[in-house]
Symmetry: C4
Amino acid sequence: MTSEARPGHPDGAPPAYEWPAGKSAAAVVSVDFDGPTPYLWASRNSPKQLMGELEQRRFGPRQGVWRILALLERLQIPATFYVPGAIAEAHPAAVRTIVAGGHEIAMHGYLHERLDDLTPDEVGDILDRSMQALAAAGAAPPFGYRSPSWEMTPGAWEKLRTAGVRYDSSLMGHDHPYWLDGLVEVPVQWQLDDAIFYRYVHGSTRAPVPASVVMDDWVREVDAIGRFGGLAMLTVHPWLSGRAGRLVAFEEMLRRAGDHDGMWWATAAEVADHHRGRYQESDGSGTTEL
Amino acid sequence: MTSEARPGHPDGAPPAYEWPAGKSAAAVVSVDFDGPTPYLWASRNSPKQLMGELEQRRFGPRQGVWRILALLERLQIPATFYVPGAIAEAHPAAVRTIVAGGHEIAMHGYLHERLDDLTPDEVGDILDRSMQALAAAGAAPPFGYRSPSWEMTPGAWEKLRTAGVRYDSSLMGHDHPYWLDGLVEVPVQWQLDDAIFYRYVHGSTRAPVPASVVMDDWVREVDAIGRFGGLAMLTVHPWLSGRAGRLVAFEEMLRRAGDHDGMWWATAAEVADHHRGRYQESDGSGTTEL
Amino acid sequence: MTSEARPGHPDGAPPAYEWPAGKSAAAVVSVDFDGPTPYLWASRNSPKQLMGELEQRRFGPRQGVWRILALLERLQIPATFYVPGAIAEAHPAAVRTIVAGGHEIAMHGYLHERLDDLTPDEVGDILDRSMQALAAAGAAPPFGYRSPSWEMTPGAWEKLRTAGVRYDSSLMGHDHPYWLDGLVEVPVQWQLDDAIFYRYVHGSTRAPVPASVVMDDWVREVDAIGRFGGLAMLTVHPWLSGRAGRLVAFEEMLRRAGDHDGMWWATAAEVADHHRGRYQESDGSGTTEL
Amino acid sequence: MTSEARPGHPDGAPPAYEWPAGKSAAAVVSVDFDGPTPYLWASRNSPKQLMGELEQRRFGPRQGVWRILALLERLQIPATFYVPGAIAEAHPAAVRTIVAGGHEIAMHGYLHERLDDLTPDEVGDILDRSMQALAAAGAAPPFGYRSPSWEMTPGAWEKLRTAGVRYDSSLMGHDHPYWLDGLVEVPVQWQLDDAIFYRYVHGSTRAPVPASVVMDDWVREVDAIGRFGGLAMLTVHPWLSGRAGRLVAFEEMLRRAGDHDGMWWATAAEVADHHRGRYQESDGSGTTEL
């Protein structure tokens, strides 16, 4: 823990986050393995579905996810895969390989449904269906959860809590784990999401950012999070980061960032379990105040 | 003052701006400490408020503002914090720490209300309410003012003038202080606003710009403003620049720019007071002509 | 073939793609020679057509295409030109020069019609009309096909198949050739399309990306595709990449990428013929699954 | 003239452009001195005009134009200023200084009216009014013309021709001067327009590009245009490029590009006069074909 995290304003400044013994910060590689499901959901009421966007996204299960799995194996890094139920059903070999590699599999909707378009009961049904699909494909319950598109409603949060979800990983209220209304949040961060830099589909108005620019920024961000003692939640999508040049740049980024002294490379579930064991909800590191 | 500021066209070129003795330019660090208020205001009539955006913005009061305060203490730089009334009420410990650090606190609406959506009377009511909230939290009157979203209307300007506001800091008509219709303007500049580079929320169509790119540009801009004898108004938001990598890059930027010879690092109020003492409004450096 | 392409997950990972003897990857230079046709199609129902956009796009046939032809001659690289029928009719000298240079000419609509705005019968009529226009201008049948705007519908796909098209080059489901529903796909990639980086027209909300940034990324991408044994499909537009600075950067990029050991520089038709000879459709490297 | 401009395809390739003796390419610095007029025109029917945008644009006549004039004097470069009539009326001292500096003044509408919103008769009236305003401010007739927003209609073109305008500088059909329907076009280029990189106003969805990135690209573009024997038309706006850091970067860019051997630095009028003397319209370098 560096002095940056102890600003010396004892009356209001947040205390330094406490990691497992010998660790001063943490990093998680998370893989949002969604394939074409976001487009299938968004266009579910559209009379026509465009092959261009479908094929672009199918690159993920066909090619990208296998490259990411091989990379994780080369670097011996554990990861968390957020897998919509429909993808688990369609790609059982990929799910088997993820499990065999020692990685975590967690929930990500059934067809990548956006929570703010659903009623709480629909959220509950989708949780059930998605949990069954993952279990049928061989993943171990209970599961963590990441919301499609990283959005959340109070009604959906309540459903997650009552469904026995161990942790959520969709929000950005801290850069370390925190309690929020009865659930452990393992926070994400837009800046460490490959999609907002790389995604280009019909109708996009900006070109993708070069991988070398993005990964150089990720190295700096992981390093800075290390200095402040926080959590670096890296998120990649197989149809985007599985492309050749981005995969190479991601590997190089992990090799550079992986050298960080005291950094704990873990799955999201391991981070959530640590938090649950170390902190009580009454510590109140995250609350719903203004 | 360098020769750049004296172009030798005596019939129309603006004269070089005169700073306090021994100073040839000025820089202000300003902190728009708005937390989730811009979203709460923008979504005030919406049936649902999304937890994703709220939590992202809550990172500011929970974590970001404390990192910025610690940074200012490390570098011994005075700053001006523009604080919506609702934030001051919800975070009194942060306000106390800002005051204890010798920084200025100034008005920024009550719930970050955009002026062009308000009647002049509503502007007046919000000014009163915001002034009371800041005073109750321990800040010293009278206050400076910065409009939420940096927009302004003639009706609101009139209200600011009659309410006894000492200066406004929302407009861009010069890169040094100037009189405008009865008030001192301490001008801002989009290029030195972190938000337009870093802000990414649902519906955004462009990815954030890496901090190293933005801060490299800020170093060049502050240096150039120093050469022309102007004012560099730096603006950061705790929920954006308080993120680890951006904080590190901001600190590095301040260390590099802070070396500038003859640069006066001051609060916006100090700059406004200097202008009021040195220039009469009849000098007319800013007028409402075409 | 490097180890990256053999991730050691034999139950589901795609096998390494097999190129002609002595080659480990491939690259195609493709030229979407569309001139003003995309704008003429998009504004076909508009009461006014703006000279600004028309003239900007006319730079392609007037100047850009000749610079690209000279560049290909200097570097002795074969290319595939996708030419709308109306352009072939209006610019026969350019078509003759393309053919004389040993390059492939393939279909790209008649007036750059977007497929998702057409019925299957309209697609069929346009295929006929475009094929006739290319033949009349001196190109050799049968032709490959690239859809305007890189979009595709199942109905149009069926028309391509029954019209005897040898290959399509509009989709992104792999980064090597693959069978898809009865046709060979020679895939494209947004990241290697100059238009999404360079195109700026009235109403655009982002500035063009500098050529040095784009071409640096292309060098990295081609190199990475070479390591993974895939296909690098480069796409340039004469009205964009024919501009002086971009042409110089493109030439420099080709000189750097051209050094790649084992890279097969070919036309799209040659790549499609290789695939057709080496793989049966029943190998099913691309399917329409989720 | 380098070999790049003579691609050896004599049947269709454009011949190398012929510049005055001893010159192999040309560059023009053009200044679109519009101040707040684009916003005043765009918001002419709006019930409220925002002070934020007005003040941002007033930086141009207050400060930016004087810095640009001083820069041109330091570097001894002649420039062409495109000045809306309303600006000339409001800022006579600036017009006098431009004329005294030996620069060209040319037409740019009266209140920066977009041509595609006007009838041909309105275009004619505005031409008259704008010509009178410039003459009254001391500029010499007859004038060149640049359309606000760089758009053009056939009806407006006809009006320009019958009004005796010497040249237009709004279109992009070549990167050297050319005849188009009875008028000499001295072409512009989006890539060399500061506004599309720097402009940020309320409602913008992308941040400005750093000046160092833009000016580095301009140096490369001017160099490449020099190699191909074309015309580099640089365009800056005082409210944008007059900002301190951008001015410094622009000066550095001109110093680097100014070293180019054989480059003719001229006004747009001088370039148009050269073209008119060297080429007949029947040479037809630009036509309205597809």
